[in-house]
Symmetry: C2
Subunit: 353 residues, 2 copies
């Protein structure tokens, strides 16, 4: 099903403001969820709206959070997000990292006591829009065992790095340290599809293609084995440990609606023009793009894509076409709207593909 | 064969000083090569000494390099290494990044016109020794195709992140963005062994287990497909592009002894105590270590190791036992010594295992 971007934007904003959230903050969350669905990272799109709303209703995500800075010196700051929405904390933290980079060349804002913040690229791209390179990390609920372990001790922690170009789109890598994201397993379940081998193992540590077996007691597998685990662990240190926040087994699932999450983020911005002239940077990165795009292709391949390019093309198309929403997702959005006393996304606004 | 650490240290220093390198700089390179062999990353150990020496003799690595700073403001500096040894440039750059972190909380030193700098962990561990977190990146000669490509456009670029602990060893991840390093393929060739499937493909893009087929016209494969390629590309941007240095197809192999390499590095240090009290940090990271080490083990596993732990244990053992050197490596070291008019590593100093 396809829903017009403007309709769902308005719907999402109303849900959050109904819960007492300031309008500008509601708009930040909506924009982040929208960006995910436009880029077809549906696992991090409006599918998450009902759980965000439920957590807000239970006070697990604060709609009027007291966001403060524990330290704020030189190139560095530590934000206590006061259990605010992860999107609001993440947005404000990257804004501050960018300001600091303008001053000091580099800006690092570490965040504790935040929540699930959606797609990591949303924040790294903020830096790219300002002629900066953005590096964003976050911890999440533990989903993977250590190498040789059979217990969840580390999140499929995401990293995103974005770099501006003067081609049509910025280069942006955005990945979690598992072979896939938990959200994609949830989405496969929602679509009632099997998952590919290698995505995860069941409660006994055995390979499975059933999303349910991974969701209920199983584990995601780290990408490249020890490499993915190693990076995930260092991300955990750079977020939960370095901020004095929660980490590893201290973080409950966002689907456990009895506990606060306390997620940590790491937002780094590097001001390119403080290192080399912007003209030189753009000349060089366009040369790199050309090296990659014009390199010899493997048999049967008609085009080589850069990180973020396919998502950019999807976003461009979906901005006109509207957002794809699964039937089950729409049903849960409308159920939630009813509980909030808001009008749902009516069938007249829905076009079946 | 086992050689005493002190003997090979002395041998290595003499090679570099014979070529006119200041003693303190010779010691930096020796220490980095030694660290690699002690940790049994033999691909980056004294096996590389002959090629370093040859490049120095040809003026491709400057033994008396003019290392200067193009910018040096706030938390940021850009070093022009003047084609110095990668180890010397890397060491000085991380030293400066640490100084900057002491001032500003974060320090970033970007380096251009450098050379192959050995194991990346050597530099990130410098930060860990100062109660800081170190993040180190480098580009290298292109060895991997893009996703869907059949031409070398991107290096198996390394990343290392090190974090101090108050257990016996720091946590340090050190990995390249290929399934394996080119050095390990070279080392397999030197040992006349086959390589595992998945390490690389031949010139036609077909899987191979013959190191020669990867070395001559073939390609290394990126870890996790697009994830490894995406990170490798962002590392290329954060090094070669961001410094105004060389990148991708502009970088020749270190085994091409007719061209300078122009490698770029990225050295970031974060001063932990500027964010949270050191006591809290160490309490937290030790808690994280305990979560991982004491987590439920998979069947048949007796111990869970942290990133860098196995290398630490090897280093501890080899410091007493001596350094393992392949017979072919020893022969090439002694051939080189003869050319330099130095006495070789004599058989009396060599113990066959």
């Amino acid at each position: 099903m396809i829903i017009e971007a403007e309709k769902i934007k308005d719907f999402s904003n109303k849900c959050f403001t109904k819960l007492g959230m300031p309008e500008n903050e509601a708009e930040i969350i909506t924009e982040a969820l929208m960006e995910a669905d436009l880029r077809e990272i549906h696992s991090h799109g409006f599918m998450r709206l009902p759980i965000y709303v439920e957590r807000m209703q239970k006070g697990l995500i604060e709609t009027k959070a007291n966001i403060s800075y524990e330290t704020d010196n030189g190139a560095l700051a530590l934000m206590d997000a006061g259990y605010s929405s992860g999107q609001v904390a993440g947005y404000l933290a990257m804004e501050k990292a960018i300001e600091k980079a303008e001053e000091s060349g580099v800006g690092l804002v570490a965040v504790k006591n935040s929540n699930h913040f959606g797609i990591t690229a949303f924040y790294s791209l903020m830096a790219a829009k300002k002629d900066m390179i953005g590096i964003v990390l976050s911890n999440v609920v533990p989903l993977m065992p250590a190498i040789g372990g059979a217990e969840k001790v580390i999140g499929n922690n995401p990293i995103s790095i974005a770099a501006p170009t003067r081609t049509e789109f910025p280069i942006v890598a955005d990945m979690a340290m598992s072979n896939t994201s938990f959200g994609k397993v949830l989405y496969a379940k929602e679509k009632r599809e099997a998952i590919p081998e290698g995505w995860g193992v069941n409660a006994k540590g055995l390979p499975t293609t059933k999303p349910d077996e991974v969701i209920n007691g199983g584990f995601l597998s780290s990408v490249g084995g020890p490499k993915g685990f190693g990076l995930a662990l260092m991300i955990e240190i750079l977020t939960g440990v370095l901020t004095g926040g929660a980490f590893s087994k201290m973080i409950p699932s966002m689907y456990d609606v009895n506990q606060k999450q306390s997620i940590s983020h790491f937002m780094l911005a590097i001001d390119i023009k403080k290192l080399i002239p912007l003209e030189l940077y753009y000349e060089n990165i366009n040369q790199l793009v050309s090296f990659i795009k014009n390199s010899k292709k493997a048999q049967g391949v008609s085009e080589i894509y850069l990180p973020g390019e396919i998502e950019f093309l999807k976003e461009k198309r979906n901005k006109e076409k509207g957002i794809h929403i699964e039937e089950d997702t729409l049903a849960s959005l409308n159920k939630m709207a009813e509980q909030l006393g808001l009008s749902g996304l009516a069938p007249s606004e829905v076009t079946r593909l």
